[in-house]
Subunit: 611 residues, 2 copies
């Protein structure tokens, strides 16, 4: 079963429209300024002048420009205006000017004079090329721009012709980009090159670096044989997304089955409740199975973006709701937390727990709070491009009809139909879909019922959680269908092997994962809060310092009592009866995890003990 | 209160005698071979010839030679023989020959021609100097050798004269070495230099490196102000040991109080049940308070060695039993696991849990098992020198009498008395002490009763756990005293804030921490084993593949049942009644943690859920 993206999707109001507004008005302009400050534009200018030396920033600095350009392109597609167009065209012109006569483009290599492709394990030459291609595809699809598309095809043609045989980039990314460029241009050698790279991967051909083995660069096990994801989480999901593109475009069922197997193992054993990926700081890696410690979570924002892209491709390839479920979970709880509510501060790493007393010198500490920007600034523009293109992920179509995957107020145009969606989701579970235009023949409207949505209904009839609720009829303009996703607070626990959550619970509400944050609990530190065994979860009134539409969840709780000897060796006899460990009751206030660290940094937890 | 080390202590039989035998017969000779293979001797030879270039190995390669020489020196002190003496003298001669005419010595700097002291943050010049001085002090104390002592004093004199003002080494170590060299030679400027370094530390004078802040090199907060330990664990405890030496020798009560405060916070919030230190791979650091995840434990063997050294110095300075308790815990459960039972394979990092399915490419994975040696080979010779000098840590003396801190068969000579100790500790809790020689006046024999030893007795009278049981009398030759430390299996839990152990228990027996290891549980994987609520802990019969004297602990247990949906998303509703989560019963076999990974590598855990 293969779905196609809906012809058009547009977010027109509510939760995601507000986030898109902030992205467009604050984050993208800020990104332009920060990228300029980083020297990435200056690198392109120097390369355009044919200068040598003077490269500023990281070897992958070009990719920040490309991801930002991709965001600009999608924004122009949503609503073009002079400011966006001018910024896009100036930057695109600069990129075109920086390209070498034979199509090569990578300013770090051009300015340092290093031999091309001589250090692909670290140079990020093809990684940057991939992001350029994705920006070009966005420009072409969104506004028919061909400036970047010409640059991208010249670069791709150069790679097809001149890239040394069997070479790979240490950081996957170009695979999905080449496949997308093939889709946009029909040039088959681009897909062939992507397919070759996917097949070559895993042969331990990349040189090792430091203490790391080949797995970190996705070069230990060929994808067709792999049973799980491993190594650097961003590289893993980028590669998997590209491999999924290759599998679909080449009708490679074996490869697709292998990818599905890896995805299922990732979800079962290496995914945080938030959808976040990567539990190991050392090498920004996936940990072992069930190694999902909350406070040492890496959960790079880029890995979440890549996970959405992979899941979307698997969803289109299979039509299975699990992929859309993870996509939604990840979007709300692993991508969105990477950006402040104001859109001007960022998390690169997303911890699920921050303890009191974290050392501010510890560079791992989320206790340092959101940052203005990063020396390695991959994450902010990644969020920009995803949010700008969010409308593309709402729905798909196939021979049967239209499938709605994500719920947001707006419009979906697919299979000749135009659907209007009205909802206050995720705060409220009611979603109204009005058919505005429709072909005059039967087709199926498939509505995703998330796995958590026990008690959901469609037009008053029960709809089973976990899958698609399908309504087939000959639709008429003005027809409407009402979905109720039963959004209410719920308690979540983990399987026994996930021992870092043992004896603890999390609060979720609709697609949102919640957390306990220090500002709402002045009487105790978050580290000591427990959920009562009879928690009586309920929606609360707006919380001070957060936007009024944010619905907190209240619960009955307790506070762990500290006994006198708690200041000593923290291990004690477990023989004999245990003394009571808590005082109480206290009122707990859970807020959505994505909204944390917008009222200063400090203790926070997603999991809390239940006593 | 200040204690002095006993004049002499000798391990003469039982548990530690066997370990010392392996150390002497296997580990130290193997170390010589490996260090030669690493090129560290060749570096000294090249420096002796005045060559330039050709340095092999790490910048701190010299220190491997020095720590190995220190072990040889202590071994010669225990029982000199021609082989040991020849190896020691050859290597010491080589070191002497490598020293520059003005006393400087650091082969990496000498061979590379880098300016001396120009990169102290990374060069380890003073770190290596410190280990040389410790070897020299050992040689002088153990066998009166002055070859190395002359090298060390020339080097120390050079430092006193020529080291640029206010400079520090990125890796502390020289502080304790200079204090010890002062104790050995009486040369006050050595102590003054150590004191200056301890005082200067924490002023953020060392240049930063990579993403790390100043804390990692112990340069963020002056020791007198610090309330906890932070940063690189080995550096932290090495510095603290040196600072304790300085505090004692300069009668600096404020500094000693600050160190005691830091030690107590470390024990309460940053110490694993094993005594292991450092929970963060990234920078080999201490984590935040209660960040003590078992599977991502770093617990570098060197940090455990340094912790024993710091605790010993605090014990001598204060006479408080807590320090000896941690010293013993660390020795058995954090140093000893760093060495295989055969003495020829090593752990640099000591995980407290290894899960099934760990990726063998993950360089963090203890699942890879013990290694033959390491590129950074700091740990193996650190264990060698500690085991060779273990007799020194058994007892101390003061005006009142003799204090026995560690129990091992052998002899203690202190305050004119000679005590014979007979015991099968740690397997058995009975310790018999026979007075062989004694002055003819009253003195106090103080016996440490570990905090875990509830039910202990001395000559049939109850002795309170946690402190020293003191017997004062005029002793006569042939007097004997019998201590019973009530060694039996017990269950241990953690305080609530230590949430990674929530709902779980550990098994201990005497000073030993136990673990569940895969070879003893063929019917289930260790990840799924639980301790029953009525575990009925009891001693077991010898276990296949481990030495016959090792006493396993048996317990009633259960196995977590995997439900069909356990292969999916690992989070599930916690609302409503929970289904039973386990099958059972099964018999659990706990083995001492130090003995793990001697029957192949695989799943292991110290903490197990109690259901």
């Amino acid at each position: 079963m293969t779905l196609r993206p809906a012809r058009a999707g547009r977010v027109g109001g509510g939760f995601w429209a507000a986030r898109q507004r902030v992205n467009r008005d604050v984050t993208i302009p800020l990104g332009g300024t920060r990228i300029r400050e980083s020297g990435a534009f200056a690198n392109l200018e120097r390369a355009a002048r044919g200068s040598a030396g003077g490269h500023q920033g990281k070897v992958f600095a070009d990719s920040d420009v490309y991801k930002w350009l991709e965001a600009l392109a999608w924004e122009r597609g949503r609503a073009d205006n002079g400011v966006l167009a001018k910024a896009y065209e100036e930057a695109a012109g600069l990129v075109a000017a920086a390209q070498a006569p034979d199509g090569y483009l990578h300013t770090h290599t051009q300015l340092t004079g290093r031999e091309r492709y001589s250090d692909l394990a670290s140079s990020h030459e093809l990684y940057c090329a991939g992001h350029l291609m994705q920006a070009a595809v966005a420009g072409s699809r969104a506004v028919g721009d061909d400036t970047l598309l010409r640059v991208a095809t010249r670069l791709a043609d150069h790679l097809v012709k001149d890239l040394p045989a069997d070479t790979l980039d240490g950081h996957p990314e170009i695979e999905t980009a080449l496949a997308e460029l093939y889709r946009e241009t029909g040039t088959r050698p681009y897909l062939d090159l992507a397919a070759r790279m996917v097949t070559t991967r895993g042969g331990e051909t990349l040189p090792l670096k430091g203490h790391h083995g080949p797995g970190i660069r996705q070069d230990r096990v060929p994808l067709r044989r792999a049973t799980t994801v491993e190594g650097h989480a961003v590289r893993a999901v980028y590669l998997a997304a590209g491999a999924t593109d290759v599998a679909v475009e080449t009708a490679d069922e074996d490869l697709l089955a292998a990818l599905a197997r890896q995805w299922r193992d990732m979800v079962a054993t290496k995914t945080y409740l938030t959808g976040g990926l990567g539990s190991v700081w050392y090498g920004e890696q996936f940990g072992g199975p069930h190694e999902l410690t909350p406070e040492t979570a890496y959960c790079e924002t880029c890995a979440a973006v890549g996970s959405v892209q992979w899941a979307w491709r698997m969803l289109l390839a299979t039509g299975e709701a699990d992929f859309a479920d993870l996509m939604e979970r990840t979007l709300y709880n692993a991508v969105l937390p990477g950006l402040s509510l104001g859109g001007d501060r960022f998390f690169y790493v997303n911890a699920l727990r921050v303890r009191a007393g974290a050392n501010p010198d510890d560079r791992r500490a989320a206790a340092r709070g959101r940052q203005d920007w990063y020396g390695t600034a991959c994450c902010p523009p990644n969020v920009m491009r995803l949010f700008s293109s969010l409308g593309h992920y709402l729905a798909s179509e196939d021979e049967e009809g239209v499938q709605v995957h994500l719920y947001a107020s707006g419009e979906i145009r697919a299979r000749g139909a135009l659907l209007e969606v009205r909802t206050d989701y995720p705060w409220d579970g009611r979603v109204e879909i009005v058919v505005r235009e429709t072909p005059d023949r039967p087709w199926t409207l498939a509505l995703r019922i998330p796995a958590w949505a026990d008690g959901a209904g469609v037009d008053g009839q029960p709809a089973r959680a976990g899958g698609y609720h399908r309504v087939r009829r000959t639709w008429r303009p003005g027809d409407r269908i009402t979905l109720d996703l039963a959004v209410r607070p719920r308690l979540t626990a983990a399987v026994p092997r996930l021992d870092v959550a043992r004896g603890q619970v999390a609060v979720e509400r609709g697609p949102l994962v919640y957390c306990l944050e220090q500002p709402d609990h002045p009487g105790a530190i978050v580290d000591d809060l427990c959920v009562a065994a009879d928690p009586a979860l309920r929606d609360g009134s707006p919380v001070a310092g957060l936007p009024a539409e944010v619905v907190p969840v209240l619960a009955r709780g307790r506070v762990h009592a500290h006994r006198e000897d708690d200041a000593g060796f923290p291990y004690r006899s477990a023989d004999g009866p245990r003394e009571p460990e808590h005082t109480g009751p206290v009122d707990l206030t859970f807020v959505p995890y994505y909204a944390w660290a917008n009222r200063g940094a400090g203790p926070m937890t997603i999991w809390a003990p239940m006593h």
